[in-house]
């Protein structure tokens, strides 16, 4: 188990996975359930165990629609969708190499590009 990774996921999601009482309502309510290898309740449980790498490798992270049905219905306010999103972010951040380097940016700029998009792109694609 990778402790740093767990820390990172917990921090970036802001979720307290220990609040989960394992009722499975998130998975019971999930519209993408059948598409997923790991289901919302498993995300919460596996993050609690620290088994993040398995989740990061799974295509499940891209199957979540972020519809927030699980967040809406969770009786314990655990917010599984935020956990999924945090694992997805962790995977994105770990992708090897830079997709962008700062000096490539000026020529890509145009007036219509929102400032926020540039910052987001850098955060997502640069190391």
């Amino acid at each position: 188990m990778n402790k740093n990774l767990k820390e990172q996921v917990l921090r970036s999601s802001g979720v307290n996975v220990l609040k989960c009482m394992r009722c499975g309502k998130c998975s019971g309510t999930c519209p993408s359930y059948d598409e997923m290898e790991y289901h919302p309740h498993q995300f919460v449980y596996m993050v609690e165990k620290g088994d993040i790498e398995t989740l990061m490798k799974s295509p499940s992270i891209y199957k979540c629609l972020t519809c927030f049905a699980c967040v809406e219905r969770c009786p314990r306010n655990v917010e599984p969708a935020k956990v999924v999103e945090a694992v997805r972010l962790a995977a994105v951040r770990q992708q090897d190499g830079n997709h962008l380097s700062p000096d490539m940016i000026p020529e890509m700029l145009d007036d219509d590009l929102p400032q926020q998009a540039i910052v987001t792109a850098l955060r997502k694609y640069a190391k």
Binding site: R22, G24, G28, C30, R76
Partner: protein, 663 residues
Amino acid sequence: MQRIGVFVCHCGTNIAATVDVKTVAETLGKEPGVVISQDYQYMCSESGQNLVKDAIKEHNLTGIVICSCSPRMHENTFRKAAAAAGLNPYLVEIANIREQCSWIHKEIATATEKAVILGRAAIAKVHLNAPLTAGESPVVKKALVIGGGIAGIQTALDIAEAGFDVDIVEKNPTIGGKMAQIDKTFPTLDCAACILTPKMVEASQNERITIRSFSEVTDVKGFVGNFTVKIKKKARYVDETKCTGCGLCTEKCPMKKVPNEFNMGLDNRSAVYIPFAQAVPKVATIDPNYCMMLKTGKCGVCSKVCSVGAINYKQQDEIIEEKYGAIIVATGFNPISLDKYDEFAYGQSPDVVTSLELERLMNAAGPNGGTLLRPSDKTHPHTIVFVQCVGSRCDDSKGKPYCSKICCMYTAKHAMLIREKYPDTEVYVFYIDVRTPGKNFDEFYRRAVEQYNVHYIKGMVGKVTPKSDGKIDVQASDLLANEQLHINADMVVLAAAIEPDKTARPLATMLTTQMDTNDFFTEAHPKLRPVESATAGIFLSGACQGPKDIPETVAQASAAAAKAIGLLCKNSITCNPCVAHSNELMCNGCSSCEKVCPYGAITYIDKEFRMPDRTTKVRRVASVNPAVCQGCGACTVACPSGAMDLNGFSNSQIMAEVDAICK
């Protein structure tokens, strides 16, 4: 001149190992007013106590200070010893040199120094102690039970059995409560009515019990042993003394479209009604919201058909005032409203019902005469899904954070009964955990699984969707099989969380009792005093204190009765003498103290004062009822003039302690 004795305890080596007890005794012996200062190995032992007693007599002591363990431990021991030697027990002070000195400090020099200071503070305080005598107040030998469910009935029966008068106040037209609505009881599957209704009859026939049905408590004044309670007897437009309960009026009443509360609104009743056949008292009640006569003045059928002339359209609410010595709260519970749970489609489909509704659907006296039929089309359901923990164990704003405790068992009961009666029905129970602590409870649940083949699936239902063909799609995940399920159900039964009755919160305010954030009454001690409230003379019975099943409720009801009987047996009760008192000469009558008193112990009187010029002047001054005051001291600080002071912890005593410590 004060003659104070100081007694320093070694507590074996507990104190003596870190505190030089000889030095402490010697140093404190030099304090002003101290005439004898001794140390001894175990002050609390018989011989230690005798040492104290002898010293009191021999030196004619006016106060004693024991330097020993915490006053929470042995204050009473030494007070009793003092009393036995003829010294007022409130002239005893304890300096805590064990828990707050020898046990936490290691260095003998500093620990000894601190022990001396603590001893000095106690001596300074005891100099100002006044002899206090506990007052007595008489006990009215009658109890009030608020709520006429099984808890209230059992409590009332037990109290009456012990020979005391008891009134039951029930807000509904009949006693019986939730248990009267239940079909069968777990884990024995005996019929609820068969065991409850004899008790209801017993209560009505017991000459010591007065049932005040269709009534509410509106005001509570007074204190333990002497409560004055106002009870509103709501107008039922029927003379209870005349009505024979023949039921003719209910048959003839033309207004028949009133949702029947007793059957959870699953069928209708008439505007004049008797809730159910075994109601106690078996008296008709007119519902003013629906009665044509009361609304428009046109009808009067019931009055015409009543052969005894019991109908009285002009009846008014009536306020009765009664005195009681003890009050037992038995206000019970209700299922929570499921309006906020859209995902379970309650309210969207008549075939999604709560468990209490299912009880009525299955009951022989229910809307379908005991045959389980879908409310929508009155057909026999073939697939039934039970959803557990609806609103229980929730951390969100919709539900309750606690486990409702009874749902696991009644669901197993429902599942079993259905499988027994209709073996062609598939029953699914979606659970998070199955909790069955109780005698024969787990065996019962296992029978549902093993003998009746009820499908228990671990996983919460995510979504319930009524379909156009009348079926209901239940979407859930099976956590153990790791798959998502869709069940095509005919009926869905929701195990709604239970919550305290809505009348409990205003009642708690009237009674000045404590409640937790969920509106359950708080017991005086969670382990050792589970049926008493923190307010003396108020006891708790049944689910108003926390979720409970019937056997637990009955056990607590009898326990509350026992506690109440213990109080009613006494002719008078001894009061705590460490209470507040107001110096009338200084009191401004400003009402600040009254506002902060949690017990309503302070009232105002107009008192006549003789002025220096021989005239008299009437002034409003505060007066503390010593039987009600619990001695917290909130009033003493609220009082700007310093007129309010507290016996045993007076302003001057505490300041003397401060001075002694800071000297």
